[in-house]
């Protein structure tokens, strides 16, 4: 069964460093999403992406964040200058319809020291 994959599974970085989290969505899906989950808190929407542009973003997704689809298979989330409070699980999701039925990857656990 097709699935969303994410790399790396874990990332430790120093505050102020740039990180790139990578996702490979399900191959025939056209809508892509990033969410994050701070430990003990609920899953929060960051950004959605369709047709090579951001379709919606939350207040969390400030100028430190960017997304890119560099080729036909990868979807990346870049955090330009990480802060301690960026420590969280980051989940990528994809959808074929752009609706509520989204399929999540296993997540990348980011720890900022």
């Amino acid at each position: 069964e097709p699935e969303v994959t994410q790399t790396p599974s874990h990332q430790v970085t120093q505050m102020g460093q740039e990180v790139i989290l990578r996702c490979v969505p399900i191959s025939n899906h056209l809508y892509f999403y990033w969410y994050r989950q701070i430990l003990g808190q609920k899953v929060e929407f960051l950004v959605s992406f369709y047709n090579n542009e951001i379709s919606e973003k939350s207040e969390i997704f400030d100028d430190q964040f960017s997304v890119e689809r560099p080729d036909g298979s990868n979807f990346t989330l870049k955090i330009r200058s990480t802060k301690l409070e960026d420590s969280a699980m980051y989940f990528c999701a994809s959808s074929d319809t752009g609706g509520e039925t989204q399929y999540f990857g296993p997540g990348t656990r980011l720890l900022v020291l």
């Binding site: 969303v4 999403y33 969410y35 808190q41 609920k42 899953v43 929060e44 929407f45 959605s48 919606e56 939350s58 699980m89 989940f91 999701a93 752009g98 609706g99 509520e100 039925t101 989204q102 399929y103 999540f104 990857g105 296993p106 997540g107 656990r109």
Partner: protein
């Protein structure tokens, strides 16, 4: 801002017992999703309910969407240890999740 309230927050039961968890809001939804999340993993979609009063079954799991499309419930019959996890409801294209019900099923 539409909010989803899930209850109970935590639930610990023994294998074989039945349980119901709830997802409530003051807002009307066009549809609602239920996900299950295990520790360290991403949410896994269980079901989408769309029509008011709709009932969907997934093996021992029964999902109901309220007539007014403001609330939903998940009933598990004869719970098994493999049902342990965080049950989340969500709505919207930019999914807005509830805080979830953390279920622990013990042998």
């Amino acid at each position: 801002t539409q909010l989803l309230e899930q209850s109970p927050q935590f639930l610990s039961i023994q294998e074989g017992e039945n349980l119901t968890v709830y997802c409530n809001s003051s807002s009307v939804f066009s549809s609602l999703q239920w996900y299950r999340q295990e520790p360290g993993e991403g949410p896994v979609l269980l079901v989408t309910v769309v029509t008011g009063g709709e009932v969907k079954k997934l093996k021992r799991l029964t999902f109901q969407f309220g007539d007014a499309r403001k609330d939903s419930s998940l009933h598990i019959t004869a719970a098994q240890t493999g049902d342990t996890g965080l049950y989340l409801c969500a709505f919207g294209g930019a999914l807005n999740f509830g805080k979830g019900t953390s279920l622990l099923v013990t042998p």
